[in-house]
């Protein structure tokens, strides 16, 4: 298992080498989830990100885009402690880290449910993450995609639209509260 995770980290680092550090280049993110092929919560994978940390900490991506809208994802402190600092350098020399701060793309709505999360619920999720991240390090997003496999979508457009409206409203509330 450890070998597979190391290999996954090595692969992504080789893809982004020299591009992730380039000024003015794209922000590079990595999305990890527990599956989006079924609306049955019981068959999707459960567990926090702890077992993945040895690989994630080695990855030189700026942002991790992670599910946090379902209890299956575990507690925010798991990644908050390990993945809120600086992106490591390609090959450790005098410096071990770049000056690029990691970001978290916080999943705040479940793309598979018909119930729409309220802006207040989303604000509360973001505030839990603020214990580990500064406001500029936090992105708010869906847990995963809404569409997925070609002839089987996990949600409908009306619900998806309402969910992204909730995210935008929550961001507005958070900016009023934490903006300078």
């Amino acid at each position: 298992m450890g070998e597979e995770l190391d290999y996954a980290a090595e692969l992504i680092n080789r893809v982004i080498e020299g591009i992730v550090d380039a000024p003015g280049g794209p922000r590079i993110g990595l999305h990890v989830c527990r599956g989006n092929w079924s609306t049955r919560e019981d068959v999707l994978l459960t567990g926090d990100y702890r077992p993945l940390l040895p690989a994630l900490t080695k990855m030189r991506v700026r942002q991790f885009v992670l599910e946090y809208a379902t209890p299956r994802a575990g507690e925010i402190k798991v990644v908050g402690r390990a993945l809120s600092g600086l992106v490591p350098v390609q090959s450790p020399g005098p410096a071990s880290h770049t000056d690029i701060l990691r970001e978290l793309g916080l999943g705040v709505v479940n793309p598979r449910t018909t119930e729409v999360e309220t802006p207040e619920e989303i604000v509360a999720r973001a505030e839990a993450a603020l214990r580990f991240y500064r406001p500029e390090q936090l992105f708010l997003n869906t847990d995963c995609g809404f569409g997925c496999f070609a002839n089987r979508c996990v949600n409908v457009e009306e619900v998806a639209a309402a969910k992204i409206r909730s995210i935008a409203l929550a961001a507005r509330m958070l900016r009023e509260k934490y903006g300078c």
């Binding site: 992504i12 922000r27 990890v32 936090l138 995609g145 958070l174 934490y178």
Partner: protein, 217 residues
């Protein structure tokens, strides 16, 4: 500096019209131009909905993609789209794979895999057209999603087909890295603001507790 930037992970629900166009394309019953006319409409609507909702970084909704990783077969030499049901014939552990699909509620005929059947190279860019089109619709920053190198290295290797082209999975992985790197360089050069690599299979490696088992991704 922007704080609490809002965005999405990638795919948007597909309309009946889009689903029909995807099916017709699979069956070879529609021209690329006709398919694109449908997809362009869907992307326009998806962009408008995101702008009206007030999102900061927009996605195109991935309407053109069979799924988030299998779509690479449209763009690559050496890759073929295969349904999981089709792949079953070549599986070493057929009954185990079948049982996993049932237990996990995986729609085997609906999920298609990008199987490596030859040496891999880009016939055309994976997402540059998507980026240019969505950029023509909005002034806001755009996020482009690409399948991660580990997901592709794992899913594309189906030994019965791939061994003819590559001696090992690691060797094929070199090809995957090269392709994704080229794509990322192209996107960077075109001014893409955000590129997200999708690696869902990573959790499967650690959470399923069944090491070495082939997953459906």
């Amino acid at each position: 500096m922007t704080i609490f930037t809002t965005t999405q992970v990638g795919s948007w629900p597909r309309s009946r019209r889009m689903l029909r166009a995807l099916r017709d394309r699979r069956l070879g019953q529609v021209t690329r131009a006709a398919f694109d006319r449908v997809a362009d409409d869907e992307v326009r609507r998806t962009v408008r909905i995101q702008e009206e909702a007030g999102l900061d970084v927009l996605v195109d909704g991935e309407h053109r993609r069979d799924n988030f990783y299998s779509f690479v077969t449209d763009k690559l030499e050496g890759a073929r789209l295969m349904s999981l049901a089709e792949m079953l014939d070549e599986m070493e552990d057929k009954s185990g794979f079948e049982e996993m699909l049932t237990t996990l509620d995986v729609p085997a005929s609906a999920i298609r895999n990008p199987t490596c059947v030859g040496r891999l190279s880009r016939r055309e860019p994976l997402a540059m057209d998507d980026f240019r089109f969505v950029k023509s619709l909005t002034d806001r920053p755009v996020k482009i999603t690409l399948p991660g190198p580990y997901l592709l290295t794992r899913s594309m290797w189906v030994s019965a087909y791939t061994k003819k082209a590559y001696a090992s999975q690691r060797e094929m992985g070199e090809g995957v890295v090269r392709i994704l790197r080229e794509e990322l360089q192209d996107l960077a050069g075109a001014g893409c603001e955000f590129v997200q690599f999708d690696e869902p299979v990573l959790t499967e490696v650690v959470l399923s507790g069944e090491c070495g088992r082939r997953t459906f991704m």
